[in-house]
Point group: C2
Chain length 321, copies 2
């Protein structure tokens, strides 16, 4: 048994990867999740995808030691069920790990995607050598993962790191979770795009209007680009989101005293433009002894951080069995 | 060697306790810190206090295995120095542990007081059986301590749990730390007393005026009492502080997914009046899957939680030497 399968189960697409010892990915493929068709259909698609992955790599299923799956959502480690996933409608209560073990006849572990990404960056990326780190995934939503004392930390039920839904602003904008003023409602790609569309509708941003005729097409990247090109109103949207991100990171740092904070995901790819503003607000809010020596860095593993993390966790899990 | 000494080094008083195996306190005494006279004088007073403690208990110094000290402030585990203590002016940079080891010729450990209290409640109090807990000390200031995965968690340098200085309100009231809008500036006993004095000065609270002629004497307990007796303005002060406390705990819970949150210190002694309001705001803000089964409970060890925690940590430290 010398191969391991890593799965990143997203709301839009599923990525499966085959790795040898040492977590080198030797083959990978992506395909649509088809989340709207329900859990059974998604698991069937996953099964098909894994079979194709193995066939393509000329790898027998008997050479595979186990499967590690990371997915967005609250996966309850104690009850071993998906309590709730915003991206996988109808999965609430699903005993995902057991279903996959039955389906494949192999040991399976399941982990939150941001937690797996944090572990991936700890083992192979920006967090190497740091015993305590916080990773934020900045995309359409905001997720968080923690490595504390050199181990993935999930808390009592595996839900730790739920930083996207910390309340940042009383009476703030409505969040997808049903609450108001969550970090995600103030600083995610979705929140930035929403503010950009408001600007476009109000006609106050010439650069945005030039860029997009139709507000519905406008994304966070367009707002970042308009701000970079000098559009003041777009710049204020980015500044406001960075303010809340910087303060949220300061809050988390005061609680955790991490050695490094890692930003990953689509928005983190905006690079200096985002990092400069977030760092400025972070250092203005965090307790000075905690700020000393603490770095806010970009993730290094790109879209593979979750897969690489779940593969490392899988190998460690199997070594204890 | 069958005895252990625990020290709670506060800004106003020092408490020293002698314990046998199992952390039973067999003798204890308290005396003024005299913090204004500087570190050398305080250490001398501590030495005198410990000698009296031993003499009073008829215990030879040679029967003592070590000393555990907890103190408010940022004690840097890596550099082994007190980086900053708000209650012990002039101690910044002091290598407290090494100085005490030299002074007593015994092994010494130093820990933040709220961290020690968290460990005390974990080992002997409200947190027994919980692997992940957050303890808040609510008094003139607000401190925090974390036990994660059954171990005291200090973060990269020992500063974790600094929840009193998380930024809760942009442009909020000035905090003793120099920043604005920290939790401590909004919800500590000091903050509540300050708001009460404003009420008294404005003459809008008849119950507070009846209670205290001189605003300078008015403390948080007076505001709690006036609120309990139906004073609306005092009630709004408590409600506002509870709002920020509840939200801060929701933030910490979203990040840590603890099994229990423990409130200790003078303000927590206000009991139901505080707990009801804090719980209400907590459950309105925390992510529902994290709230499920999570309890906000009162500390059970009173003023001894720090001493009992540092004694347990000391015995564990010595057992590894």
């Amino acid at each position: 048994m010398h191969y391991y399968i890593g799965v990143d189960l997203g709301g839009t697409k599923i990525r499966v990867a085959l790795a040898g010892v040492g977590d080198q990915i030797v083959a990978a493929r992506s395909f649509p999740t088809g989340a709207g068709r329900g859990a059974a259909a998604v698991l069937q698609a996953l099964q098909g995808g894994i079979n194709e992955l193995l066939a393509g790599a000329g790898c027998s299923r008997h050479a595979v030691a186990g499967i590690g799956v990371c997915a967005a959502g609250f996966y309850d480690r104690e009850e071993d069920i998906m309590v709730h996933s915003p991206n996988l409608p109808g999965w609430d209560g699903l005993p995902l790990r057991r279903e996959l073990e039955e389906l494949f006849g192999l040991p399976v572990i399941v982990e939150n995607d941001a937690s797996a990404a944090a572990y991936g960056e700890y083992r192979h990326g920006a967090g190497r050598g740091q015993e305590n780190l916080l990773l934020l995934t900045l995309g359409t939503g905001i997720g968080g993962g923690l490595v504390l004392g050199g181990k993935l930390y999930g808390g009592s039920r595996g839900f730790a790191g739920e930083i996207g839904h910390i309340p940042m602003l009383p009476d703030g904008p409505r969040c997808g979770c049903g609450r108001s003023g969550c970090l995600e409602a103030l600083a995610s790609g979705t929140a930035i795009a929403l503010e950009g569309r408001k600007l476009l509708a109000a006609g106050t941003s010439s650069l945005l209007r030039e860029k997009k005729g139709d507000a519905a097409d406008l994304g966070a990247a367009d707002v970042f680009e308009a701000a970079r090109r000098g559009d003041g109103a777009a710049g204020r949207i980015i500044e406001q989101a960075s303010f809340f991100l910087g303060r949220a990171l300061a809050i988390a740092a005061n609680i955790l005293n991490p050695g490094i904070i890692i930003l990953s995901g689509g928005m983190a790819a905006s690079g200096d433009q985002l990092f400069e503003a977030v760092r400025r607000h972070f250092y203005a809010s965090v307790s000075p002894p905690i700020a000393a020596g603490l770095e806010i860095a970009a993730a290094q593993l790109g879209a593979d951080s979750g897969i690489l993390g779940i593969l490392a966790l899988l190998r460690e899990y199997l070594s204890t069995q």
